[in-house]
Amino acid sequence: MNREDIIKPGNLVYEKPVLMNDNDMHYCPGCSHGVVHKLIAEIIEEMGMSEKTIGISPVGCAVFMYNYIDIDWQEAAHGRAPAVATALKRLWPDRLVFSYQGDGDLACIGTAETIHALNRGENITIIFINNAIYGMTGGQMAPTTLMGMKTATCPYGREPELHGYPLKITEIAAQLEGTAYVTRQSVETVSAIRKAKKAIRHAFENSMAGKGSNLVEIVSTCSAGWKMTPEKANKWMEDNMCKYYVLGDLKDVE
């Protein structure tokens, strides 16, 4: 097979989503954000919602998400994205509205907004990147930091007497009457990425069908914050994170 044969459209196995622009990403090598960004861009395109989507970026590493996907965006104050999303969806009910938040943003400072938006059954999707650490501020303890895990603010490891316990907010979300679909996914392998894509698509479709609130947690790596190579971070995530934050659907209302 020569080059011309190889690049025939029929042989295409991968294409950059049209909505993803060519701006240089600021994420570290091995970070999960880029993969999840790509999935979201693909799904918006595939659903034909490019002109009807409003995204809400958080405070945290994904604060600049609006630089990478060419849709309309609002950048929310730390933790308040679900409140911003609530108003946007109620005021523009035919739009696809999603927020994209990290563990500190969603499960710590924004716990009230997260719980109440989900409990009201707002027809939104919350994408929750859980890498158990504050990445942007330099690797401090997060609400989801695992027991014994070392961070800049628990340098001897997280211990319950000092720091309390890692919060399984996704399990809490599954208990709320307002949630339609609550799931926990990951993106460290091809098969995991495919499953995560299906989950996000299902959540987005639920939002547009008016079924209620949707929470998609993505158990993620932070190789820089964890001080590991990307490969080792993936392995550590599977061996530790996924033992505590068990993958799979927690709730899926028909």
Binding site: D72, E75, A83, R95
Partner: protein, 360 residues
């Protein structure tokens, strides 16, 4: 057709005026003495008539961030609260001002600091007029002194907010919110259609059509050179607002030898004090700032050339008096009289203060 005159509370007038002004959404959390605003909206159910969204949020923090979301999408949105709740909104207000978004915030003040009292106060003057949240920004602040002005200022506040893409505040107090007076509600303005909104707010997040760049609502800019330019643009807007939007009322000022400056409910009391003083032969006039920011600096500077002394009367420990002194630049004595913690002064107390502090 004759105008319909209704009897209602100031808080209720805010709600009815908002619906009639074409407001798209209200997001709020209960707090005394302004809960009637949300209660009235819930009772009237505007979502069944104009389509206005009304939502009780989980906190004032959530309320103001809902307002941020709605305002970023070009919608005419508002919230209301009282002093402690407004304190919780300061971060959000800073973001809204930083992202240059229009919205209306109603503060029906109560006495502080802390949980304070539920009685009326004007002790949020500094917070409202000097920034409140972090960063260099201003709210456009309107101070109603009657139920009628509560109704009238809703539309005015939205107009100013959209003109300057800046949050506007109606700074009322527990008296104005709770008292019942006659009111004529503003004329009905239909809510804007989607097309009208997109034409009026080309910056709004409504979903990106193929032929334009993404609209991004943010107050973030890491490059200091660019952040300074944004700040300078915002400041230029404030200078224009100071030049064009100052509003005030002058009462019996033509022959005045002394001037009382008071706003909101305090201006109602001071007006009575002025009548008492005039009956005693004291030539006193009153200037009532209607916009507290931008402050009526120029007209006060003019009066400083004519009168012998100025008394600032406020329901606080002396806040607006600082802006009066800045305007007067030491030309005449400027003194302060006020009551604190929810106490409303008697008109005679103000007359006494005028005599003891100014006339001497």
């Amino acid at each position: 057709m004759a105008e319909e005159v209704l009897l209602m509370k100031g808080n209720e007038a805010i709600s009815h005026a908002a619906i009639r002004c074409g407001c798209d959404g209200y997001f709020g959390y209960p707090i005394t003495p302004q809960s009637e605003i949300l209660e009235t909206l819930a009772l009237v159910k505007p979502w069944e008539t104009t389509g206005m969204v009304v939502l009780q949020a989980e906190s004032e923090v959530a309320s103001i961030n809902m307002v941020y979301g709605g305002a970023g999408a070009g919608k005419m949105v508002m919230t209301s609260s009282s002093s402690p709740g407004i304190s919780l909104m300061q971060e959000g207000l800073s973001y809204i001002a930083g992202a240059e978004l229009p919205c209306l915030v109603v503060n029906v003040q109560r006495g502080g600091p802390g949980l304070g009292t539920i009685q009326p106060s004007q002790s949020d003057y500094f917070q409202s007029c000097k920034g409140g949240g972090h960063g260099d920004y201003h709210l456009i602040v309107l101070a109603p002194n009657s139920v009628q002005e509560m109704a009238d200022f809703v539309g005015l506040a939205f107009d100013l907010a959209f003109k300057y893409r800046n949050p506007a505040m109606i700074l009322a107090d527990g008296v104005i919110g709770q008292m019942m007076e006659k009111v004529v509600l503003p004329p009905v303005r239909p809510r804007r259609t989607e097309q009208e909104l997109i034409e009026q707010c080309p910056w709004a997040t409504v979903g990106k059509p193929k032929n334009r760049k993404p609209n991004i609502i943010t107050s973030l800019e890491l490059k200091p050179e660019a952040m300074e330019i944004i700040n300078l643009r915002i400041q230029a807007k404030y200078r224009q607002c100071e030049a064009e939007e100052v509003r005030y009322e002058e009462i019996d000022c033509d022959d005045a030898e002394y001037l009382i400056v008071a706003f909101g409910s305090c201006a109602r009391i001071a007006q009575k004090s002025m009548e008492i003083a005039r009956a005693e032969g004291i030539k006193v006039g009153m200037l009532r700032p209607i916009t507290l920011w931008p402050f009526p600096t120029k007209i006060i500077a003019e009066y400083a050339k004519k009168v012998k002394g100025i008394l600032s009367v406020e329901l606080n420990a002396g806040q607006m008096v600082e802006d009066i002194r800045l305007a007067v630049e030491g030309k005449v004595p400027v003194e302060f009289f006020g009551r604190l913690g929810g106490i409303v002064p008697d008109p005679d107390e103000v007359v006494e203060a005028l005599k003891s502090k100014i006339i001497k």
